[in-house]
Subunit: 293 residues, 2 copies
């Protein structure tokens, strides 16, 4: 078994447990907690929290709060999925093969479960015991930036506004850099902040994260065409049906695959600069660009 | 002119300016910024930010960041109004006499404008220059608590679940303590955190805030019956039409007014303990319990 598989199999269950206990310990209406937990427990690759933990492992730093920070990123990711799936947004009935949050709990509770998750994430970081106040403030600053109007939420707005229009490659990249790239980037630099990495390492992590974020999205677009609904746990081919702008639609499939290779190369070059090129970060780059779901 | 009027007239415009510049300076899609600003600029009493500033004034502490913290609370309040007004929640077309956010920008953008506001609030606090990291972490911790599942969002869930049921006084209070009380309480203790007030003062502020929060809601319920739509800037009598649980519906109007007086007395007694009983906090208590809108 590869290092990465060992790492994933060791850490995924810890992330699941962490997410569950973070919700269980809050004092809130049980229906709300149930709605929050439903989407948190709906599976997924947990790629963002795994990235935070992988960076710490590569930098040889241990911190008990790392898994908590990692899990708050999954909370933010999950809240964004709940809101994106709403009827007024992407109107999705299925997510990871299961009914979406609003299909089970109704729209009002789905919106509020999302609101509760994003709000809780910031509070959990503020209350951590094994990071100093400066680290917590740095994490909160960057998490807010990555997930708000200047990042994820802004990207979702661009995505909605771009529907039915033909975007240029630059415009499509702007959507993705914000909508999915910013939070993935945060998950990687969060590891650096927790490890108190030096500026050179932080810069390399940022570059790696930027390019791997784009690679992630290109592969998503490719899979929507080449994957099956069963593999993906969601309706395949939906991008074409909804006339969405994707890398294959703008660049052709061959062009999209070339672009994927280019982003992968740029990501791994960044790792070379700081000698982080023989471990989990390379393996994760391979995993992301070669995955089938 | 009373001290309070002078104070409000001096500070309300500063809060308006602060809110506007906080949105203007972010890099985000213009449509999103427009939707955020639309609701932030829709008026309102600005009671929460005024409270933060009033506490600092009463404690004789000046801090340039106080108005910024105060304004983030108004952002959180505004986001909650945008989401509460949505068709799947209270389905309100008017707010403060103007069309609600989703009526102007559509549901998707209204949800995302709310998401962006709550996320931005935490980031702004994390990036302040005139508070130390411990103060910022304390503020973020308490703001997350007040506005999330254990506070405002939880209260909104209880409110929705209570529709069509007859609540006891205790159940109604639980709704209000969470839905509106928690954020109002935060706005008051935020002043104490910024001023680095001692524990005795913090305790008195908490007690005052708890009772004034209930008084605020009781007066809201009374005004829904005794006020006019023109005064309120929203449809009067809506609580009765929608068979909402209110203080008058549970206690009769006379009982509600008695309860209002009781909460007012408890709030002002807390101020007596720390000699804060002759200034803006008393005047604000009077203002809240005697207002006509």
């Amino acid at each position: 078994m590869s290092n990465l598989n060992t790492f994933i199999q060791a850490n995924q269950p810890l992330i699941e447990q962490q997410l569950e206990s973070m919700i269980n310990e809050i004092q809130a209406p049980s229906q709300l907690k149930e709605a929050m937990l439903y989407s948190l427990k709906a599976g997924g690759k947990r790629i963002r929290p795994l990235y935070t933990l992988a960076v710490l492992k590569e930098l040889n730093v241990k911190n008990e709060d790392a898994i908590k920070v990692a899990s708050t990123i999954e909370m933010i990711h999950t809240y964004s999925l709940i809101h994106d799936d709403l009827p007024s947004m992407d109107n999705d009935d299925l997510r990871r093969g299961k009914p979406t949050n609003h299909k089970v709990f109704g729209e009002a509770l789905a919106i509020l479960a999302g609101d509760a998750l994003v709000t809780l994430a910031f509070g959990i970081i503020a209350r951590l015991k094994n990071l100093d106040a400066e680290q917590k403030v740095f994490l909160i600053d960057r998490l807010s930036f990555a997930s708000g109007a200047e990042g994820m939420v802004g990207g979702q707005v661009l995505d909605i506004l771009g529907e039915g229009k033909t975007l240029s490659l630059e415009e499509l990249e702007e959507v993705h850099i914000n909508k999915t790239g910013a939070l993935l980037l945060f998950s990687i630099i969060a590891g650096g902040i927790i490890a108190k990495a030096n500026e050179e390492v932080m810069d390399a992590l940022r570059q790696y994260a930027f390019h791997i974020g784009l690679a992630f999205q290109i592969q998503d677009d490719i899979l929507d065409i080449e994957g099956t609904s069963e593999q993906l746990g969601k309706t395949a081919g939906k991008d074409i049906l909804s006339e969405k702008n994707t890398y294959p639609s703008i660049l052709t499939m061959a062009g999209a695959k070339e672009q994927l290779k280019r982003q992968y190369d740029l990501a791994t070059e960044a790792l070379n600069q700081v000698n982080l090129n023989d471990g989990l970060l390379i393996e994760l780059a391979n995993y992301i660009t070669k995955r089938s779901k």
